[in-house]
Amino acid sequence: MKTLPIETTINGDNTEFLCHADESLLDVLRDRLGMTGSKEGCGTGDCGACSVMLNGRLVCSCLVLAVETQGAEVETIEGMANGEELHPLQRVFLEEAALQCGVCTPGILVAAKALLEKNPNPTDTEVRYWLAGNLCRCTGYDKIIKAVQTAAAEMRSA
């Protein structure tokens, strides 16, 4: 199978890569670009561990073909902190112990950021439904929901 040249923007950087037509965006991120922060938990769009933003929309990168990102804007967990400065969600997740094993955490952070950009003042129920596509098997979600709300309050008052 021939590879195809793709030009896209990832976390603000112009990025060119070659890929096969059947490769997912997740495979390209992880295997070709060395961006392993997005995780594959299922490969079928059920767990959300590979969540990224594609042109401002929250998607499972395992369900996006890499060739579809031609000319697109992709944001991943690797672009969430600003240098040394963590995004408030990242910092509060640490402060409030909203992670245990941490493997779902990148996807949950990307999804939570997307929520707060759309809805800076969500109810707990809204947070729970928005994150229903992101499986976490360690925490029971309790501390995750609280951390999202703490970060949301902080971001509103900033």
Binding site: T36, E40, E95, C138
Partner: protein
């Protein structure tokens, strides 16, 4: 090692909520898990799996796959050693089948190729000729004398003759006169229960990268709960020496017991040996569900007698567990745990294991206990309903306490059950009003907890910081709690300590991260290692001050003269001692090696409110509170996290999760869409109440906390649902169709 004599110890670090040391990497995507590393020249491995529940392998033709461009190696069971030891032989044939496939998904052959897509293509070119055999997936069916036999000649000597060859284990525990006990009862209830197999459901599939040379030297990077266990298994299955294998554990994306065995590491090593290249294998989710270890499936009978005022007079349980296609002794733990919460005059628990054509059971958080305790606690609840008694009062009346002869033999030492029940009774949740179609359930839970083999090295660095080297993968924040205990003992700030997890060549043997043992046993060894380092620092200072070693004490991170007779030397801080270590005898370190006992059993009580929908059979969890004795909560955030996470896994087990097999013996729901674990919108907040009844077996009183929280939810929810629905539920999961059927008769 006993609980410290000082009864009113003021902890400075232990009990605080510090930030975990691996946190930044985990919120920025930098942390390296099993699938996250690559090597130059690396090949991609993929495994061919049986589509049949049970079949004889007549032949395997790998020639077409081998000749596909880009394929560098193909292996089958013939490429692995045949260990004589039964345990390792089972590991080997579970990694790659030999004569028979024992379940849908059983590995048959594997390839290594230049790319994932070539590997995928190549396994389709392997031709396996199967002779299909009759299969059995239900435990009760498997115990029938005429059931298809999964494996022959595997029964232990304890199994009576004349039973199906599938029955491999028989155990029995108890004491007292059952007949006399039941004769004293005013009410006896006997019920049968069934529970489906569930999966640990860790979000990170098994993944490894392995390299093995023709000289027998190898390296493995993998996500595991125990690098030393991986080394033992790989050495046995590959026929190489342990000293020649170096296993490094990656960050681990969940385990819950499920990563306490090996499935792919020996296969990757075999492919690497054959191809001469590093080989990476990453399981897909359907492989994880089909071919790694779910929990047991069960069938159970429970009979309990009670007086009108709520005293249990006798109790009997018979448990039939299936641990899949191999002999399995999880039922032993289920039988021991079943009645552990009660002080009983007469009790008997009998257990059986029967093989079925299902994947090999691998431990899942308190293995064996959630199901047997579910059955017991359901019958206790029904007795309370029938006799009009308060379920918490009945449990308090019958609760095991210090001095109770437990249902499985030992006499309990200091335990926290009564305190935990009293906390539940005093909590506003217990008396909050309920609406229509709503019910409240409660259950006790119990887990043994383990200690086990543990090595820790603690190094005092020249700049006054401290390095702790331990050998257990950090599955939920243990590096933080271990650093905290080192800091506490040495009297230095938490951020001066860094704890790392050693590979198998850098530290002596450690048991796997299981049995809720790490904070207990590694913590204990860390405290002892710190004490050894302190002793050495005091010795060095005594030399400097020219006084007796015994005249130097350690306080607040400093060596000090023990009293006025020792002189008026100003205290020397750890950093000062470290800075001149080269002049006083060389580097300073402490280490400790132990097979720790005294883990201290753990009890929990869960309270749950549910609402059932009479039209759909769906259950909503309205409120959930977990009460648990942690001994001493080293890092309360992560103790709460264990309590919340365990409760939610139990909620999944109670309401939705199940292995569904078709008539053809194939797994019908091998994906997260159909094997439904709880999601955020299914749940309320999980409230937590930590009790601290010190464990006499640990210097700070720590008990393991990780497993107990999955034990009570099954019964707590079943009792809540049964009360809400007005019908006793005796089968898990209580999925909407099952509940609807029960409610509509």
């Amino acid at each position: 090692m006993a609980f410290d004599a000082q009864t009113h110890r003021e902890f400075k670090v232990v009990g605080t909520r510090v930030t975990r040391p691996d946190g930044i990497d985990k919120v920025t995507g930098k942390a390296a898990y099993g699938a996250d590393i690559s090597a130059p020249g690396m090949l991609h491995g993929r495994i061919l799996r049986s589509p049949h529940a049970h079949a004889r392998i007549v032949s395997i033709d790998t020639s077409a796959a081998e000749s596909l461009a880009g394929v560098k190696a193909v292996v089958t069971g013939a490429d692995l050693a045949q260990p004589e030891d039964d345990f390792f032989a089972d590991v080997a044939i579970n990694c790659l089948a030999r004569d028979k496939v024992l379940y849908d998904g059983h590995a048959v052959a594997a390839v290594a190729a230049k790319s994932k897509s070539i590997a995928k293509q190549a396994i389709r070119l392997i031709k396996v000729d199967y002779e299909i055999l009759p299969h059995v997936t239900d435990v009760d069916e498997a115990m029938k004398p005429d059931a298809p036999v999964v494996q022959e000649g595997r029964a232990l000597e304890t199994v009576p003759r004349g039973m199906s060859q599938n029955v491999t284990t028989h155990c029995q525990f108890g004491h007292g006169d059952l007949d006399a006990g039941f004769a004293k009862a005013d009410k006896i209830i006997e019920r049968s229960f069934k529970t489906a197999a569930t999966h640990q459901g860790y979000i990170e599939p098994q993944a490894c990268m392995a390299s093995l040379g023709s000289d027998g030297r190898g390296e493995v990077w993998c996500c595991t709960q125990g690098q030393y266990m991986v080394r033992q298994n790989c050495a046995a299955v590959l026929g190489v020496e342990e000293s020649q294998l170096r296993i490094t554990s990656s960050e681990i994306g969940g385990g819950f017991g499920g990563k306490t065995s090996t499935f792919i590491e020996p296969v990757a090593l075999a492919l690497s040996r054959k191809s001469g290249k590093p080989v990476k294998i990453v399981m897909t989710r359907d492989e994880v569900l089909k071919a790694t270890g779910p929990t047991i499936s069960t069938s159970m009978d429970i009979k309990i007698g009670m007086t009108q005022d709520g005293r249990i007079t006798a109790a009997r349980g018979e448990l039939r567990y299936s641990g899949g296609a191999y002999p399995n002794e999880t039922v032993d733990m289920g039988a021991q745990a079943a009645f552990a919460a009660y002080d009983l005059p007469a009790v008997e628990t009998i257990g059986w294991n029967a093989m079925t054509n299902r994947p090999k059971e691998i431990p899942y958080r308190a293995p064996g206990a959630p199901t047997s305790i579910y059955a017991v606690e359901s019958v206790v609840d029904e007795l309370c309903q029938e006799l009009g008694l308060d379920p918490l009062d009945v449990r308090l009346l019958n609760a095991a306490r210090k001095g109770t002869l437990s249902s499985y033999g030992p006499t309990f030492n200091e335990i926290g059950l009564v305190a935990t029940l009293e906390a539940a009774k005093a909590h506003p949740h217990y008396t909050a009003p309920l609406g229509p179609n709503q019910g409240r359930g409660l259950s006790c839970g119990f887990w043994f907890n383990f200690g086990g083999n543990t090595c820790v090295s603690l190094n005092i660095n020249d700049d006054g910081t401290v390095g702790v080297v331990e050998g257990n993968p950090d599955i939920g924040g243990s590096r933080a709690s271990i650093s905290m205990m080192a800091a506490e003992e040495l009297g230095v700030p938490y951020d001066k300590v860094r704890t790392v997890i050693a590979d198998t060549s850098s530290l002596g043997f450690n048991d796997i991260t299981d049995g809720s043992r790490v904070t207990f046993a590694v913590g204990l060894a860390t405290i002892e290692a710190a004490r050894a380092a302190i002793k050495e620092m005091c010795r060095r200072v005594a030399k400097i001050w020219d006084i007796d070693e015994e005249a130097v004490i350690w306080e607040d991170g400093c060596a000090k003269p023990a009293g006025p007779n020792a002189g008026t030397h100003p205290p020397m801080a750890l950093a000062e001692i470290a800075a001149i270590a080269g002049k006083t005898g060389g580097p300073i370190a402490g280490h400790h090696e132990v097979n720790a006992d005294g883990a201290g059993v753990s009890f929990g009580v869960h309270l749950c409110d549910t609402e059932v929908d009479p039209e759909t059979g769906a259950t909503k969890i309205l409120r959930y509170t977990v009460f648990q004795d942690a001994g001493k909560a080293v890092h309360p955030d992560y103790v709460e996290g264990q309590m919340q996470g365990g409760a939610v896994q139990g909620i999944g087990w109670a309401l939705n999760e199940e292995y569904i097999y078709g008539e053809d013996g194939r797994l019908q729901n091998a994906g997260f869409l159909d094997y439904r674990v709880p999601v955020a919108s299914d749940l309320p907040n999980i409230e937590t109440v930590i009790l601290e009844i010190p464990n006499p077996g640990h210097p700070y009183g720590v008990r393991g906390v990780g497993e107990t929280p999955i034990v009570p939810p099954l019964a707590a929810i079943a009792n809540a649902v049964s009360r809400a629905a007005g019908v006793r539920m005796t089968e898990l999961p209580m999925s909407p169709p099952r509940l609807l059927k029960a409610m509509t008769g």
